[in-house]
Protein backbone atom coordinates (compact mmCIF):
# COMPACT_ATOMS: atom_id res chain seq x y z
CA UNK A 1 0.00 0.00 0.00
CA UNK A 2 1.50 3.30 -1.07
CA UNK A 3 -0.15 5.76 1.28
CA UNK A 4 1.61 8.74 -0.33
CA UNK A 5 -0.41 8.10 -3.52
CA UNK A 6 -3.82 8.35 -1.86
CA UNK A 7 -5.92 11.26 -3.03
CA UNK A 8 -8.76 10.52 -0.72
CA UNK A 9 -9.22 8.43 2.38
CA UNK A 10 -11.94 6.53 0.52
CA UNK A 11 -9.27 4.75 -1.47
CA UNK A 12 -7.99 2.88 1.55
CA UNK A 13 -9.09 -0.72 1.05
CA UNK A 14 -12.06 -1.76 3.17
CA UNK A 15 -12.61 1.71 4.60
CA UNK A 16 -16.08 1.77 3.08
CA UNK A 17 -18.22 -0.74 4.84
CA UNK A 18 -18.81 -3.86 2.80
CA UNK A 19 -22.58 -3.85 2.57
CA UNK A 20 -23.52 -6.73 0.34
CA UNK A 21 -23.27 -9.50 2.87
CA UNK A 22 -26.69 -11.13 2.83
CA UNK A 23 -27.48 -13.73 0.26
CA UNK A 24 -30.36 -16.02 -0.56
CA UNK A 25 -30.64 -17.46 2.95
CA UNK A 26 -31.94 -14.28 4.55
CA UNK A 27 -34.96 -13.68 2.28
CA UNK A 28 -35.98 -17.32 2.64
CA UNK A 29 -35.65 -17.03 6.40
CA UNK A 30 -37.75 -13.85 6.43
CA UNK A 31 -40.35 -15.52 4.20
CA UNK A 32 -40.62 -18.61 6.40
CA UNK A 33 -40.76 -16.46 9.53
CA UNK A 34 -43.58 -14.36 8.10
CA UNK A 35 -45.43 -17.44 6.92
CA UNK A 36 -45.17 -19.05 10.37
CA UNK A 37 -46.28 -15.83 12.05
CA UNK A 38 -49.29 -15.60 9.76
CA UNK A 39 -50.43 -19.17 10.36
CA UNK A 40 -49.94 -19.02 14.14
CA UNK A 41 -51.70 -15.67 14.38
CA UNK A 42 -54.88 -16.92 12.76
CA UNK A 43 -54.74 -20.29 14.51
CA UNK A 44 -54.59 -18.49 17.86
CA UNK A 45 -57.10 -15.83 16.89
CA UNK A 46 -59.83 -18.27 15.85
CA UNK A 47 -59.23 -20.37 18.93
CA UNK A 48 -59.72 -17.31 21.11
CA UNK A 49 -62.85 -16.46 19.14
CA UNK A 50 -64.07 -20.02 19.76
CA UNK A 51 -64.41 -20.99 16.09
CA UNK A 52 -62.34 -24.20 16.03
CA UNK A 53 -65.25 -26.10 14.51
CA UNK A 54 -65.72 -23.79 11.53
CA UNK A 55 -62.04 -23.12 10.89
CA UNK A 56 -60.52 -26.59 11.01
CA UNK A 57 -57.65 -25.94 8.62
CA UNK A 58 -56.74 -22.65 10.28
CA UNK A 59 -56.68 -23.96 13.81
CA UNK A 60 -55.59 -27.58 13.37
CA UNK A 61 -53.94 -28.51 10.11
CA UNK A 62 -51.97 -25.47 8.96
CA UNK A 63 -50.03 -25.05 12.25
CA UNK A 64 -48.34 -28.36 11.52
CA UNK A 65 -46.33 -26.54 8.86
CA UNK A 66 -45.05 -23.99 11.36
CA UNK A 67 -42.42 -26.00 13.28
CA UNK A 68 -40.92 -27.16 9.99
CA UNK A 69 -40.92 -23.62 8.62
CA UNK A 70 -39.31 -22.23 11.76
CA UNK A 71 -36.63 -24.91 11.94
CA UNK A 72 -35.86 -24.54 8.24
CA UNK A 73 -35.77 -20.77 8.67
CA UNK A 74 -33.39 -21.02 11.58
CA UNK A 75 -31.23 -23.36 9.56
CA UNK A 76 -31.10 -20.71 6.80
CA UNK A 77 -30.05 -18.15 9.38
CA UNK A 78 -27.43 -20.56 10.65
CA UNK A 79 -26.11 -21.07 7.11
CA UNK A 80 -25.73 -17.34 6.80
CA UNK A 81 -23.62 -17.00 9.95
CA UNK A 82 -19.96 -16.56 9.37
CA UNK A 83 -18.90 -18.18 12.64
CA UNK A 84 -21.42 -20.95 12.78
CA UNK A 85 -20.19 -22.50 15.98
CA UNK A 86 -20.78 -19.31 17.93
CA UNK A 87 -24.51 -19.12 17.20
CA UNK A 88 -25.28 -19.76 20.87
CA UNK A 89 -23.74 -16.41 21.74
CA UNK A 90 -26.90 -14.79 20.38
CA UNK A 91 -28.50 -16.10 23.54
CA UNK A 92 -25.77 -15.16 26.00
CA UNK A 93 -25.38 -11.62 24.72
CA UNK A 94 -28.50 -9.77 25.76
CA UNK A 95 -28.63 -6.36 24.16
CA UNK A 96 -31.94 -4.56 23.99
CA UNK A 97 -30.91 -2.57 20.93
CA UNK A 98 -30.01 -5.65 18.89
CA UNK A 99 -32.78 -6.83 16.56
CA UNK A 100 -30.87 -10.03 15.93
CA UNK A 101 -31.02 -10.73 19.64
CA UNK A 102 -34.73 -9.96 19.75
CA UNK A 103 -35.32 -12.29 16.85
CA UNK A 104 -33.38 -15.09 18.42
CA UNK A 105 -35.39 -14.75 21.63
CA UNK A 106 -38.75 -14.48 19.90
CA UNK A 107 -37.98 -17.65 17.96
CA UNK A 108 -36.79 -19.28 21.18
CA UNK A 109 -40.24 -18.68 22.66
CA UNK A 110 -42.54 -19.18 19.69
CA UNK A 111 -41.00 -22.41 18.40
CA UNK A 112 -41.85 -24.39 21.57
CA UNK A 113 -45.31 -22.83 21.65
CA UNK A 114 -45.95 -23.98 18.11
CA UNK A 115 -44.64 -27.44 18.97
CA UNK A 116 -46.98 -27.67 21.95
CA UNK A 117 -49.85 -26.50 19.76
CA UNK A 118 -49.19 -29.17 17.18
CA UNK A 119 -48.67 -31.82 19.82
CA UNK A 120 -52.09 -31.10 21.28
CA UNK A 121 -53.65 -31.85 17.90
CA UNK A 122 -51.43 -34.70 16.84
CA UNK A 123 -53.80 -37.38 18.08
CA UNK A 124 -56.52 -35.98 15.84
CA UNK A 125 -54.24 -36.48 12.84
CA UNK A 126 -52.74 -39.81 13.92
CA UNK A 127 -55.34 -41.43 16.20
CA UNK A 128 -52.92 -44.22 17.13
CA UNK A 129 -50.29 -41.82 18.44
CA UNK A 130 -49.19 -42.69 21.95
CA UNK A 131 -47.33 -40.28 24.21
CA UNK A 132 -45.56 -43.13 26.09
CA UNK A 133 -45.10 -41.18 29.33
CA UNK A 134 -47.82 -40.35 31.80
CA UNK A 135 -46.74 -36.76 32.37
CA UNK A 136 -46.90 -36.09 28.62
CA UNK A 137 -50.44 -37.43 28.47
CA UNK A 138 -51.41 -35.23 31.41
CA UNK A 139 -49.76 -32.22 29.82
CA UNK A 140 -51.61 -32.89 26.58
CA UNK A 141 -54.94 -33.06 28.38
CA UNK A 142 -54.14 -29.80 30.14
CA UNK A 143 -53.34 -28.06 26.84
CA UNK A 144 -56.49 -29.40 25.20
CA UNK A 145 -58.55 -28.04 28.07
CA UNK A 146 -56.75 -24.72 28.15
CA UNK A 147 -56.05 -23.96 24.51
CA UNK A 148 -57.03 -20.33 24.94
CA UNK A 149 -54.30 -19.85 27.51
CA UNK A 150 -51.78 -21.10 24.94
CA UNK A 151 -53.44 -19.15 22.13
CA UNK A 152 -52.97 -15.73 23.73
CA UNK A 153 -49.17 -15.75 23.92
CA UNK A 154 -49.11 -17.44 20.52
CA UNK A 155 -51.05 -14.59 18.91
CA UNK A 156 -48.92 -11.96 20.61
CA UNK A 157 -45.63 -13.60 19.74
CA UNK A 158 -46.81 -14.22 16.17
CA UNK A 159 -47.33 -10.48 15.77
CA UNK A 160 -43.91 -9.78 17.26
CA UNK A 161 -42.33 -12.35 14.97
CA UNK A 162 -44.06 -10.89 11.93
CA UNK A 163 -42.97 -7.35 12.75
CA UNK A 164 -39.50 -8.54 13.61
CA UNK A 165 -38.97 -9.92 10.09
CA UNK A 166 -39.25 -6.35 8.86
CA UNK A 167 -37.47 -4.67 11.76
CA UNK A 168 -34.48 -6.91 11.13
CA UNK A 169 -34.00 -4.96 7.90
CA UNK A 170 -34.96 -1.51 9.08
CA UNK A 171 -32.53 -1.71 11.98
CA UNK A 172 -29.69 -1.50 9.47
CA UNK A 173 -29.85 2.21 9.00
CA UNK A 174 -26.78 2.26 6.77
CA UNK A 175 -29.08 1.13 3.95
CA UNK A 176 -31.41 3.97 3.00
CA UNK A 177 -34.07 1.72 1.47
CA UNK A 178 -34.46 -0.20 4.73
CA UNK A 179 -34.25 2.84 6.96
CA UNK A 180 -37.97 3.24 7.36
CA UNK A 181 -40.23 2.18 10.20
CA UNK A 182 -42.91 1.01 7.76
CA UNK A 183 -41.02 -2.20 7.01
CA UNK A 184 -42.16 -3.78 10.29
CA UNK A 185 -45.91 -3.51 9.64
CA UNK A 186 -45.38 -4.15 5.93
CA UNK A 187 -43.61 -7.44 6.51
CA UNK A 188 -46.15 -8.37 9.19
CA UNK A 189 -49.06 -7.86 6.80
CA UNK A 190 -47.26 -9.56 3.94
CA UNK A 191 -46.35 -12.52 6.15
CA UNK A 192 -49.95 -12.82 7.35
CA UNK A 193 -51.11 -12.77 3.75
CA UNK A 194 -48.77 -15.64 2.84
CA UNK A 195 -49.95 -17.49 5.95
CA UNK A 196 -53.60 -17.08 4.96
CA UNK A 197 -52.76 -18.20 1.41
CA UNK A 198 -51.23 -21.39 2.80
CA UNK A 199 -54.24 -22.08 5.01
CA UNK A 200 -56.60 -21.53 2.08
CA UNK A 201 -54.62 -24.01 0.02
CA UNK A 202 -54.96 -26.64 2.76
CA UNK A 203 -58.56 -25.94 3.65
CA UNK A 204 -61.28 -28.10 2.21
CA UNK A 205 -64.20 -26.17 3.65
CA UNK A 206 -65.79 -23.70 1.31
CA UNK A 207 -67.05 -21.54 4.17
CA UNK A 208 -63.62 -21.33 5.74
CA UNK A 209 -62.01 -20.36 2.46
CA UNK A 210 -64.55 -17.61 2.02
CA UNK A 211 -63.74 -16.11 5.42
CA UNK A 212 -60.02 -16.41 4.73
CA UNK A 213 -60.44 -14.95 1.26
CA UNK A 214 -62.03 -11.83 2.72
CA UNK A 215 -59.24 -11.50 5.27
CA UNK A 216 -56.62 -11.94 2.59
CA UNK A 217 -58.20 -9.28 0.38
CA UNK A 218 -58.03 -6.88 3.30
CA UNK A 219 -54.40 -7.82 3.94
CA UNK A 220 -53.48 -7.32 0.30
CA UNK A 221 -55.16 -3.91 0.29
CA UNK A 222 -53.22 -2.89 3.41
CA UNK A 223 -50.03 -4.23 1.91
CA UNK A 224 -50.47 -2.22 -1.28
CA UNK A 225 -51.17 0.83 0.88
CA UNK A 226 -47.98 0.27 2.89
CA UNK A 227 -45.90 -0.28 -0.25
CA UNK A 228 -47.24 2.94 -1.76
CA UNK A 229 -46.31 4.75 1.42
CA UNK A 230 -42.89 3.16 1.58
CA UNK A 231 -42.14 4.49 -1.91
CA UNK A 232 -43.79 7.85 -1.27
CA UNK A 233 -41.90 8.20 1.97
CA UNK A 234 -38.62 7.43 0.26
CA UNK A 235 -39.35 9.91 -2.54
CA UNK A 236 -40.03 12.60 0.04
CA UNK A 237 -36.73 11.88 1.74
CA UNK A 238 -33.15 12.86 1.18
CA UNK A 239 -31.30 12.27 -2.07
CA UNK A 240 -30.13 8.78 -1.13
CA UNK A 241 -33.67 7.81 -0.19
CA UNK A 242 -34.91 9.07 -3.55
CA UNK A 243 -32.24 7.05 -5.27
CA UNK A 244 -33.34 4.01 -3.31
CA UNK A 245 -36.92 4.50 -4.47
CA UNK A 246 -35.69 4.94 -8.04
CA UNK A 247 -34.59 1.30 -8.01
CA UNK A 248 -38.30 0.48 -8.17
CA UNK A 249 -39.37 3.34 -10.41
CA UNK A 250 -37.22 2.96 -13.46
CA UNK A 251 -34.20 1.06 -12.21
CA UNK A 252 -32.80 -2.38 -11.71
CA UNK A 253 -35.73 -3.78 -9.76
CA UNK A 254 -38.59 -2.18 -11.66
CA UNK A 255 -39.56 -5.29 -13.61
CA UNK A 256 -39.22 -7.87 -10.87
CA UNK A 257 -40.98 -5.64 -8.36
CA UNK A 258 -43.93 -4.47 -10.43
CA UNK A 259 -44.40 -7.57 -12.56
CA UNK A 260 -43.91 -10.32 -10.00
CA UNK A 261 -44.77 -8.64 -6.70
CA UNK A 262 -47.38 -6.00 -7.45
CA UNK A 263 -49.19 -7.42 -10.49
CA UNK A 264 -48.78 -11.19 -10.26
CA UNK A 265 -48.22 -11.44 -6.51
CA UNK A 266 -50.86 -9.04 -5.21
CA UNK A 267 -53.32 -7.55 -7.69
CA UNK A 268 -53.91 -10.62 -9.86
CA UNK A 269 -54.52 -13.03 -6.94
CA UNK A 270 -56.71 -10.36 -5.35
CA UNK A 271 -58.85 -10.30 -8.50
CA UNK A 272 -59.05 -14.10 -8.42
CA UNK A 273 -60.11 -13.95 -4.77
CA UNK A 274 -62.80 -11.38 -5.52
CA UNK A 275 -64.10 -13.61 -8.32
CA UNK A 276 -64.16 -16.55 -5.97
CA UNK A 277 -66.16 -14.56 -3.42
CA UNK A 278 -68.67 -13.85 -6.16
CA UNK A 279 -69.05 -17.57 -6.78
CA UNK A 280 -66.77 -18.16 -9.77
CA UNK A 281 -64.81 -21.37 -9.70
CA UNK A 282 -61.12 -20.62 -9.30
CA UNK A 283 -58.49 -23.26 -8.58
CA UNK A 284 -57.30 -22.16 -5.15
CA UNK A 285 -53.84 -23.56 -5.81
CA UNK A 286 -53.18 -20.86 -8.40
CA UNK A 287 -54.23 -18.01 -6.11
CA UNK A 288 -52.27 -19.34 -3.16
CA UNK A 289 -49.21 -20.15 -5.22
CA UNK A 290 -49.08 -16.65 -6.71
CA UNK A 291 -49.41 -15.01 -3.30
CA UNK A 292 -46.67 -17.21 -1.83
CA UNK A 293 -44.38 -16.66 -4.80
CA UNK A 294 -45.03 -12.91 -4.69
CA UNK A 295 -44.20 -12.82 -0.99
CA UNK A 296 -40.99 -14.75 -1.51
CA UNK A 297 -39.86 -12.57 -4.43
CA UNK A 298 -40.76 -9.45 -2.46
CA UNK A 299 -38.36 -10.45 0.29
CA UNK A 300 -35.63 -11.31 -2.19
CA UNK A 301 -36.02 -7.91 -3.84
CA UNK A 302 -36.10 -6.00 -0.56
CA UNK A 303 -32.96 -7.72 0.71
CA UNK A 304 -31.10 -7.38 -2.60
CA UNK A 305 -32.18 -3.81 -3.34
CA UNK A 306 -31.55 -2.66 0.20
CA UNK A 307 -27.95 -3.79 0.03
CA UNK A 308 -27.43 -1.80 -3.15
CA UNK A 309 -28.46 1.45 -1.51
CA UNK A 310 -26.04 3.34 0.68
CA UNK A 311 -25.28 6.74 2.11
CA UNK A 312 -21.68 6.93 0.92
CA UNK A 313 -21.04 7.58 -2.73
Amino acid sequence: MKEELFISGREIPNIDPYLHIWHWQIPIYLFLGGLAAGILFFAGLYTILGKEKEMQATVKWAPFIVPFALVLGLFMLFLDLKHKLYFWQLYTTIRLESPMGWGAWVLMIITPISLVWCASYIREVFPKWDWKFEFLRKFELWVIDNRKIVAWPMVIYAVILGIYTGILLSAFNARPLWNTAILGPLFLVSGMSTGVATIMWISKSHEERKILGRIDLLLIAIELFFITHMIMGALAGSQVMIQAAQLFLGGEFTVSFWAFVIVLGLIFPAILEILELYGYKIPIAITSFLILLGGLIFRFIMVEAGQLTRYLY
Partner: protein, 171 residues
Protein backbone atom coordinates in the same frame (compact mmCIF):
# COMPACT_ATOMS: atom_id res chain seq x y z
CA UNK B 1 -78.39 -25.22 -25.39
CA UNK B 2 -76.33 -22.50 -26.91
CA UNK B 3 -73.16 -21.71 -25.08
CA UNK B 4 -71.77 -19.62 -27.91
CA UNK B 5 -73.24 -16.50 -26.31
CA UNK B 6 -70.53 -16.83 -23.73
CA UNK B 7 -67.92 -15.82 -26.27
CA UNK B 8 -67.59 -12.22 -27.33
CA UNK B 9 -68.93 -10.96 -30.61
CA UNK B 10 -65.98 -11.54 -32.98
CA UNK B 11 -66.04 -7.98 -34.32
CA UNK B 12 -66.00 -6.58 -30.79
CA UNK B 13 -63.12 -8.92 -29.95
CA UNK B 14 -61.34 -7.83 -33.11
CA UNK B 15 -61.67 -4.14 -32.33
CA UNK B 16 -60.46 -4.70 -28.76
CA UNK B 17 -57.50 -6.70 -30.04
CA UNK B 18 -56.75 -4.03 -32.64
CA UNK B 19 -56.84 -1.27 -30.03
CA UNK B 20 -54.54 -3.27 -27.77
CA UNK B 21 -52.17 -3.83 -30.67
CA UNK B 22 -52.26 -0.12 -31.48
CA UNK B 23 -51.59 0.81 -27.86
CA UNK B 24 -48.72 -1.67 -27.70
CA UNK B 25 -47.13 -0.25 -30.83
CA UNK B 26 -47.68 3.29 -29.58
CA UNK B 27 -45.88 2.51 -26.31
CA UNK B 28 -43.18 0.06 -27.37
CA UNK B 29 -42.84 0.52 -31.13
CA UNK B 30 -43.42 -3.20 -31.70
CA UNK B 31 -46.45 -5.41 -31.99
CA UNK B 32 -47.55 -8.48 -30.08
CA UNK B 33 -45.96 -11.91 -30.32
CA UNK B 34 -45.93 -15.38 -28.89
CA UNK B 35 -43.39 -17.73 -30.44
CA UNK B 36 -40.48 -15.52 -29.35
CA UNK B 37 -41.06 -16.56 -25.76
CA UNK B 38 -40.80 -20.22 -26.74
CA UNK B 39 -37.57 -19.41 -28.53
CA UNK B 40 -36.20 -17.74 -25.38
CA UNK B 41 -37.14 -20.83 -23.42
CA UNK B 42 -35.30 -23.09 -25.85
CA UNK B 43 -32.26 -20.81 -25.88
CA UNK B 44 -32.20 -20.72 -22.07
CA UNK B 45 -32.63 -24.47 -21.77
CA UNK B 46 -29.82 -25.19 -24.23
CA UNK B 47 -27.65 -22.60 -22.52
CA UNK B 48 -28.18 -24.31 -19.16
CA UNK B 49 -27.75 -27.88 -20.40
CA UNK B 50 -24.90 -27.30 -22.84
CA UNK B 51 -23.46 -23.79 -22.47
CA UNK B 52 -20.48 -24.47 -24.72
CA UNK B 53 -22.73 -25.74 -27.49
CA UNK B 54 -25.04 -22.74 -27.16
CA UNK B 55 -22.18 -20.28 -27.37
CA UNK B 56 -20.70 -21.96 -30.43
CA UNK B 57 -24.00 -22.27 -32.28
CA UNK B 58 -24.69 -19.53 -34.79
CA UNK B 59 -28.37 -19.39 -33.86
CA UNK B 60 -28.43 -19.53 -30.05
CA UNK B 61 -25.53 -17.14 -29.69
CA UNK B 62 -27.59 -14.44 -31.41
CA UNK B 63 -29.88 -14.38 -28.40
CA UNK B 64 -27.30 -14.80 -25.67
CA UNK B 65 -25.41 -11.98 -24.02
CA UNK B 66 -23.26 -11.90 -20.93
CA UNK B 67 -25.09 -9.29 -18.92
CA UNK B 68 -28.64 -10.37 -19.61
CA UNK B 69 -30.60 -13.50 -18.92
CA UNK B 70 -32.24 -14.70 -22.15
CA UNK B 71 -35.53 -15.08 -20.26
CA UNK B 72 -35.51 -11.35 -19.47
CA UNK B 73 -37.32 -10.68 -22.71
CA UNK B 74 -40.38 -8.60 -23.60
CA UNK B 75 -42.16 -11.59 -25.12
CA UNK B 76 -41.52 -13.84 -22.13
CA UNK B 77 -43.30 -11.35 -19.88
CA UNK B 78 -46.03 -10.94 -22.44
CA UNK B 79 -46.63 -14.69 -22.53
CA UNK B 80 -46.77 -14.87 -18.73
CA UNK B 81 -49.43 -12.20 -19.09
CA UNK B 82 -51.28 -14.21 -21.76
CA UNK B 83 -51.49 -17.16 -19.39
CA UNK B 84 -52.81 -14.96 -16.59
CA UNK B 85 -55.27 -13.10 -18.80
CA UNK B 86 -56.64 -16.25 -20.41
CA UNK B 87 -57.02 -17.84 -16.99
CA UNK B 88 -59.00 -14.82 -15.82
CA UNK B 89 -61.28 -14.89 -18.85
CA UNK B 90 -61.71 -18.65 -18.60
CA UNK B 91 -62.61 -18.34 -14.92
CA UNK B 92 -65.14 -15.59 -15.61
CA UNK B 93 -66.98 -17.74 -18.13
CA UNK B 94 -66.57 -21.08 -16.34
CA UNK B 95 -64.30 -22.67 -18.92
CA UNK B 96 -61.54 -23.81 -16.57
CA UNK B 97 -61.32 -27.56 -17.00
CA UNK B 98 -58.69 -30.14 -17.85
CA UNK B 99 -59.91 -31.61 -21.10
CA UNK B 100 -58.67 -32.86 -24.47
CA UNK B 101 -60.81 -31.15 -27.06
CA UNK B 102 -61.35 -33.30 -30.13
CA UNK B 103 -63.82 -34.27 -32.80
CA UNK B 104 -66.06 -37.21 -31.81
CA UNK B 105 -64.61 -39.11 -34.79
CA UNK B 106 -61.14 -39.39 -33.30
CA UNK B 107 -59.77 -40.49 -29.94
CA UNK B 108 -58.00 -38.26 -27.43
CA UNK B 109 -54.78 -40.02 -28.26
CA UNK B 110 -55.04 -39.20 -31.95
CA UNK B 111 -55.81 -35.60 -31.07
CA UNK B 112 -52.76 -35.36 -28.84
CA UNK B 113 -50.50 -36.82 -31.53
CA UNK B 114 -51.86 -34.35 -34.07
CA UNK B 115 -51.41 -31.52 -31.59
CA UNK B 116 -47.80 -32.57 -31.07
CA UNK B 117 -47.16 -32.70 -34.83
CA UNK B 118 -48.84 -29.34 -35.28
CA UNK B 119 -46.83 -27.78 -32.50
CA UNK B 120 -43.64 -29.18 -33.95
CA UNK B 121 -44.43 -27.72 -37.37
CA UNK B 122 -45.44 -24.39 -35.88
CA UNK B 123 -42.23 -24.16 -33.90
CA UNK B 124 -40.19 -24.90 -36.99
CA UNK B 125 -42.14 -22.61 -39.28
CA UNK B 126 -42.17 -19.69 -36.86
CA UNK B 127 -38.36 -19.64 -36.95
CA UNK B 128 -38.27 -19.52 -40.75
CA UNK B 129 -40.86 -16.77 -40.85
CA UNK B 130 -39.26 -14.83 -37.96
CA UNK B 131 -42.50 -14.90 -36.00
CA UNK B 132 -45.79 -16.70 -35.72
CA UNK B 133 -49.40 -15.79 -36.39
CA UNK B 134 -49.22 -13.05 -33.76
CA UNK B 135 -45.71 -11.72 -34.25
CA UNK B 136 -45.33 -12.01 -38.01
CA UNK B 137 -48.83 -12.16 -39.47
CA UNK B 138 -51.01 -10.05 -37.15
CA UNK B 139 -48.45 -7.47 -36.03
CA UNK B 140 -46.89 -7.45 -39.49
CA UNK B 141 -50.22 -6.73 -41.10
CA UNK B 142 -50.95 -3.98 -38.61
CA UNK B 143 -47.81 -2.11 -39.63
CA UNK B 144 -48.62 -3.01 -43.26
CA UNK B 145 -45.28 -4.82 -43.50
CA UNK B 146 -44.93 -6.89 -46.64
CA UNK B 147 -43.59 -9.81 -44.63
CA UNK B 148 -46.79 -9.87 -42.57
CA UNK B 149 -48.99 -10.23 -45.63
CA UNK B 150 -46.77 -12.89 -47.22
CA UNK B 151 -46.69 -14.96 -44.04
CA UNK B 152 -50.40 -14.54 -43.41
CA UNK B 153 -51.32 -15.66 -46.93
CA UNK B 154 -48.88 -18.58 -46.78
CA UNK B 155 -50.29 -19.79 -43.45
CA UNK B 156 -53.94 -19.58 -44.37
CA UNK B 157 -53.44 -20.61 -47.99
CA UNK B 158 -51.63 -23.79 -46.97
CA UNK B 159 -54.16 -24.56 -44.29
CA UNK B 160 -57.02 -24.24 -46.78
CA UNK B 161 -55.22 -26.43 -49.31
CA UNK B 162 -54.69 -29.20 -46.79
CA UNK B 163 -57.96 -28.72 -44.90
CA UNK B 164 -59.69 -31.40 -46.98
CA UNK B 165 -57.24 -34.11 -45.95
CA UNK B 166 -57.53 -33.35 -42.26
CA UNK B 167 -61.31 -32.86 -42.12
CA UNK B 168 -62.07 -35.89 -39.97
CA UNK B 169 -59.93 -34.47 -37.20
CA UNK B 170 -62.16 -31.45 -36.86
CA UNK B 171 -65.69 -31.85 -38.16
Amino acid sequence: MDNSKKYWNPYFGGVMLGLLLLLTMFITGRGLGASGAAKSTVVTAVDVVAPAHAEKSAYYSKFLSDDKNPMNEWLVFEVIGILAGALLSGALSGRLKFVVEHSPKITSKTRLIMAALGGLAFGLGSQFARGCTSGAALSGMATLALAGFITMMAIFGTAYVFAYFFRKFWI
